[in-house]
Structure formats: structure tokens, C-alpha cells
Symmetry: C2
Subunit: 203 residues, 2 copies
């Protein structure tokens, strides 16, 4: 009998530093347990419309996250965060390009997400502009003009809306938000617990 | 030359499950690094008056903390949380008894805080009632009637107010909130980072 192992569902917002930190670690973590990752970018702003205040509206918490905690968590995994000017951005164009790619090529879409995340959080460059988001697609051998067209495509726009509604329906309220066999984990600091769950089969 | 090592400042609310989880670990952690801990209970409700919304006002976050994350974090360190009826309580009586003891006997006050925390989070019993808070003091060989009187003592009340104001002035916005040499750490999940800092001298 073959045990069916479900993919790990990984919800994240491109503007979320903790989403980025999880994105840099989750594939290797899943691979060690023989799992795949289903990448699911969403827009946290749209989710907060349903389920309350952003931590960034809280000035002390915002500064702690920005200046202290996220850079420190990054340093501990060997990364140097560069917070982009204008952060947090409403990262609609990379979300749309992701879901444009994801329909036929989830692996390529995940590669795009990693590249967009790195450009934003390691490069410190905006990705919220359609041209910038399409440039990233072009570096991965996708057609730049196709990517630009996807940003304006009504069907793609609808897929992003659907993805957000699905995230809300599932109870996602922050980024990253990770489901392993329907067990929810909120925050990049829960990756070690996910590792325990995957090793032991329960937690 | 003797290197002066400052105590670790440990701010917590008695109603905070993550404060409890930190309380069960922080003394051993500090001891491994040759440090002491300065226990500083405060009232998160009073702090939220200054610095924004409680995560418990957010229904999804509240359920995640209550039902999933805090019990899971506890299990991982071998503890079984019992959320007391009426949680979260405004834990004024144990705060006052703590600061009554703390003036002359910080070690005894910390022992009281640990006992009150255990009664609340492992025993599932209220500590917000003056009698319950004084009973805990009595189990530690403090006078029960002295403890009850301390709850009503104007000077003790003022010490709790001062402690809260000091926490706010220092930038505390959640529980637990820990300072190591003026480096702030928010959350029991940051204890591993504190351990890294204490080992390496920087983080």
C-alpha cells in the first residue's frame, strides 16, 4: 500500500518578511520529508479586510518587526534583508504573474515566487510595479510581454481573487501560514515545529 | 577585570500562555549563561491602552493561539496547558503580591510568580481573585493575611502602576517581552535566539 502524502500548503504575501524567510527554507524542509510544497501567494491586505488589524498598524510592533526581529531572524539563516523603499507594498502584479504561470506550471510558478521574493527582500527592489514583476519573469525565460499581458488579464485577475477568498475560507490570517495535513502553522518561527510533525507524524 | 553581566529582564502577564511557557524555561536558560533573571509581571491590558489592539480581539488569531498554538508549544516542552475558565483574566492580585514580595525578596517573588503561573496554566484555576492569589503565597510560607493586605495596600498598588509605566516606557508591547543587554525579544519562541545571543555574545 502506498501512503498518500499531501503537499504542504504554503500561503504567503510577497510583502511579508516572515513569508520570505519561510520561502527560503520550506522546499528543503518538505523534501527531507518526501513532500512537495503548494505555493499560494495571497494579499494580506485583502485578508485583513475580513479578519482584523495588520500588526503593521501598531507602531511599536512595526518597528520591532522591521528594525529588529525580521533582520535578526534572517541573519540566523545567513541572509541579509534589505527592506525595499515603500514597504509594505500591495504586491498584486507578482501575485498575478504567479497565478498565470501556476495553472500550467506550478514548479515554474514557485521558481518565479522565489525570484520575486529575493528581488524584493534581498535586492531591496520594488516588485509591485507591473514592469518590475514582468522583468523577473523574463529572467526565468518567460515572455516579458506575455507576463505583462497576464497582469491585465481578466481571467488571471479572477484567479488571484479566488486564491484570496480560498485563503480566507481556510482560516488564513497572517503570512506565512502553512498547512500540513490540515494542521495550521502561523509564522516562519513555526518551521521547526513543522519539521517535528513531519518526523514524528504528530505534534 | 570582572565582566559585569546584567540580569535578563523578563516582562510577562499572568494571563499570557506564552509568558507562562517562557517562565518555565527562562531561569535555566539564564543560569546556563551565568545570568540572573529580573522578573517583571505587568498588565498587558494597561499596555494595550497605550499601544494598540490585543491579538485576542482578533477571533481567528484568538482561536489559533488558544486551541492550537499555545497547547502545541507547551506539549513540545512536555507541559499540558489547562486554559482556566474566564481566561484572559485581569491578573491584578498576583501582580500586587509579586511586587509586595519583590521589594525585599526578589527570589521569593519570582518563586511566587512561578507558582501563580503554574496554578493558572497547569492547574486551570483562577488567580485573579485576591483569595486565590493569597492562597498561593501561603503555600510558599508567606503570611496569607499579609498577602491579602498587600493586595489592598496603596503603596503596593502604586508599585504595580509604576511597573506598568516602566514597561510601556521601555517599549514593551506584548508578553513575554525579554531584554538581554537592552536587546528586545518578543515571544516565547525567541528563547532559542536569546540562547544564541548568550552563547555568541551577539546576534
Amino acid at each position: 500500500m502506498t501512503r498518500i502524502v499531501a503537499p504542504i500548503d504554503f500561503y504567503f504575501d510577497f510583502a511579508s518578511p516572515y513569508g520570505f524567510l519561510a520561502a527560503m527554507q520550506i522546499d528543503a524542509l518538505a523534501e527531507r520529508a518526501g513532500r512537495t510544497v503548494r505555493w499560494r501567494p495571497f494579499l494580506l491586505g485583502a485578508v485583513y479586510n475580513h479578519v482584523g488589524q495588520s500588526p503593521l498598524e501598531h507602531p511599536l510592533k512595526r518597528d520591532y518587526i522591521n528594525i529588529i526581529d525580521a533582520p535578526r531572524c534572517a541573519r540566523l539563516i545567513g541572509l541579509t534583508l534589505r527592506r525595499p523603499r515603500g514597504w509594505p507594498e500591495h504586491a498584486l502584479p507578482p501575485c498575478r504573474i504567479f497565478y498565470w504561470l501556476d495553472r500550467d506550471d506550478p514548479v515554474g510558478a514557485a521558481a518565479y515566487a522565489r525570484a520575486a521574493y529575493k528581488k524584493y527582500w534581498l535586492g531591496g527592489e520594488s516588485t509591485a510595479d507591473p514592469d518590475a514583476a514582468a522583468d523577473i519573469a523574463a529572467t526565468l525565460d518567460h515572455g516579458r510581454s506575455d507576463a505583462l499581458a497576464a497582469v491585465q488579464d481578466i481571467a488571471v485577475k479572477q484567479r488571484v481573487i479566488d486564491a484570496n477568498e480560498a485563503a480566507v475560507a481556510r482560516g488564513v490570517f497572517g503570512s506565512p501560514f502553512i498547512f500540513v495535513d490540515d494542521k495550521p502553522f502561523w509564522g516562519s518561527d513555526r518551521l521547526t515545529q513543522i519539521e517535528v510533525l513531519l518526523e514524528r507524524g504528530s505534534i
